[in-house]
């Protein structure tokens, strides 16, 4: 096995025991990128020189006797997370040359721990999409099958981890953008509870739904990443003052007596029968290991997509108003006066999908339609949350598929925006309710990976990780 193929946990142990150096590890991952990136195109910006310098600094800290699980580990960061001095584009022409003057809190925390930054990963423009095909620059290919999409919007991060072109990565999840690509590429992805991880420096799409989380090779690696990025941040008023546990303590292969609910609506909703079967087999294995599994029902789930496609565009239309050609980003048509400049800059800077979401949101918030759309969706969101609250009161976690199908072909859904949006039907309700959810690989259909989604109570990432870890251990042999 080659160095870049090991998990974060294994590599950090080897670094601690001084069997390998941070410099040779980073070099191995850079070489893997040089081999595979021409086909997969997981990255928008690569920073090999910076990575080598950070690896040298990490090794100096290791040599001085310092150690933590992320020290010297090469990681990739989604291109909507601010990195001081490194171009951060959101896969949009409007930010094509934007260089953030500050670090996102998660970036600062990774740097402090001594992680090595390899580059910025590809995504759907402004995180709006489910295939990474809406990147303004290029699509990314799924490492498990190069003719297929890696999912999205964090498709670059998922593909980089799956192809061992990063040991771990950060993604962001507004409607499934960590979990769905993790499922499609056969890696682990966690959307933490809303407010668990600081959003400071995450370029906003829909602020009440966005959350940053880890994408890793194993559940244990996910726990190690959470230990670094979770916690209250004074720079994000929506981050919550709840004590951060040591997530490593959740890594116990034991689900004895845990009550797990299986909401039947999550197996309808256009879920391919083979995907449903694969996920049910995984659930049976957890039951065999001692979990108490019961069927349950969350009928409001069918309203998840309609609620989301009012609220997310409404928030996006407000958040993306800042791209006006004045202070940063693209400027086109300065000769047209200030309104003309804004109108042309935005029309040329944003891609079609982003423009359509801005327009839906602007309409939903406009005079005369606010009550019918925006307020209505907010009220429906309350009903959805109440149903989840009732279900979560009876169970320790809920289990279901992450996505209705395995990865689809590149180009297959690009001309059918509605079909593309239906790929998020099982992940969106979790963003609307703010709950934590993990996607763990649970087998394959026609050789393509399938994800098991584990939904937990607010701030109960430990139980979610414990169930995922148990499943991983059961299927390891």
């Amino acid at each position: 096995m080659e160095l870049h193929e090991y998990s974060l946990l294994e590599l950090s142990e080897r670094l601690r025991r001084r069997e390998i150096s941070a410099i040779e590890l980073t070099e191995a991952v850079i070489q893997q990128i040089e081999r595979l990136e021409p086909q997969i195109q997981a990255y928008i910006t690569l920073t090999p020189d910076l990575a080598r310098e950070m690896a040298r600094q990490a090794q100096a800290r290791l040599d001085a006797g310092e150690w933590n699980p992320l020290l010297g580990i090469p990681v990739a960061i989604k291109d909507n997370i601010s990195t001081r001095g490194i171009r951060t584009t959101c896969a949009s022409r409007i930010l094509q040359n934007y260089i953030p003057p500050y670090d996102a809190t998660v970036t600062a925390r990774l740097k402090q721990a001594g992680a090595v930054i390899l580059g910025k990963t590809n995504m759907d423009e402004f995180a709006m999409g489910s295939s990474t095909e809406y990147s303004a620059f290029h699509p990314t290919r799924n490492p498990r099958d190069l003719s297929r999409v890696p999912g999205g919007s964090s498709g670059g991060s998922a593909a980089a981890v799956a192809a061992h072109m990063a040991i771990a990565a950060l993604g962001s999840d507004t409607g499934g953008s960590i979990r769905q690509p993790a499922a499609y590429c056969g890696v682990v992805g966690l959307k933490p509870t809303y407010g668990r991880v600081s959003r400071y420096g995450l370029i906003a799409y829909a602020s009440s739904l966005d959350q940053i989380g880890p994408m890793t090779k194993t559940v244990a690696d996910c726990a190690l990443m959470m230990n670094v990025i979770a916690g209250k941040d004074p720079l994000d008023a929506t981050s919550v003052e709840v004590p951060v546990p040591d997530y490593r303590e959740a890594l116990r292969a034991d689900v004895q007596g845990l009550r797990l609910g299986v909401p039947r609506e999550f197996f309808a909703q256009g879920v391919q029968p083979e995907v449903a079967q694969t996920v049910r087999r995984a659930i049976d294995q957890l039951a065999d290991a001692g979990a108490i599994v019961e069927e349950t029902s969350i009928p409001m789930v069918e309203y998840g997509l309609p609620i989301y496609y009012i609220l997310a565009p409404a928030e996006c239309s407000s958040n993306l108003a800042r791209y006006d050609g004045v202070r940063y980003g693209l400027r086109v048509g300065a000769e047209l006066g200030h309104i003309g400049m804004m109108e042309r800059t935005r029309a040329e800077g944003f891609g079609d999908e982003v423009i359509q979401r801005i327009m839906i949101g602007t309409y939903a918030l406009s005079a005369g339609y606010y009550d019918a759309y925006y307020l209505k969706a907010q009220k429906a969101r309350t009903l959805l949350r109440q149903e989840f609250d009732r279900a979560m009161a009876q169970f320790d976690a809920l289990l279901c598929p992450t996505a209705p199908t395995p990865a689809f072909k590149i180009g297959e859904l690009i001309s059918d925006p509605l079909a593309m949006k239906l790929m998020d039907v099982l992940t969106i309700p979790v963003n609307l309710t703010g709950l934590p959810a993990l996607s763990v690989p649970c087998g394959s259909v026609d050789g393509l990976p399938v994800g098991l989604q584990i939904i937990g109570k607010p701030f109960d990432e430990p139980t979610v990780l414990r169930i995922g870890y148990t499943y991983e251990q059961l299927t390891r042999q």
Binding site: G195, V326, Y328, H338, R346, I358, A377
Partner: protein, 96 residues
């Protein structure tokens, strides 16, 4: 209900987007298909329901009123499309 081309023009103006009628017609097709699919939301009874704007109830987030260090002016201007004398340069806004 479906958006008309006039409404699409109005929304584009509100959102500060310069779009041709051709583009507007194309987007109108997609947007109306999406809204038709989601029409079922309208029949959901919600009369006595309180709206939810955030999933985790945080009502006020106070902090000590302590001044921090702002971004240095050069860094704040580093990404400006046009800057001069420590200022952002924009097209003329005030008429003669």
């Amino acid at each position: 209900m479906a958006l008309t081309i006039e409404q699409m023009r109005h929304v584009a103006k509100l959102a500060r987007l310069e779009l041709s009628d051709e583009k507007l017609a194309q987007f109108m097709g997609h947007i109306n298909a999406l809204m038709a699919h989601f029409e079922r939301l309208q029949s959901l009874p919600t009369e006595s329901v309180e709206p939810t704007s955030h999933s985790i109830p945080v009502y006020n987030a106070f902090r000590e009123d302590v001044p921090g260090t702002p971004l240095p002016r050069e860094e704040a201007l580093a990404n400006a499309p046009q800057a001069r004398d420590g200022l952002f340069i924009v097209p003329r806004i005030v008429e003669d």
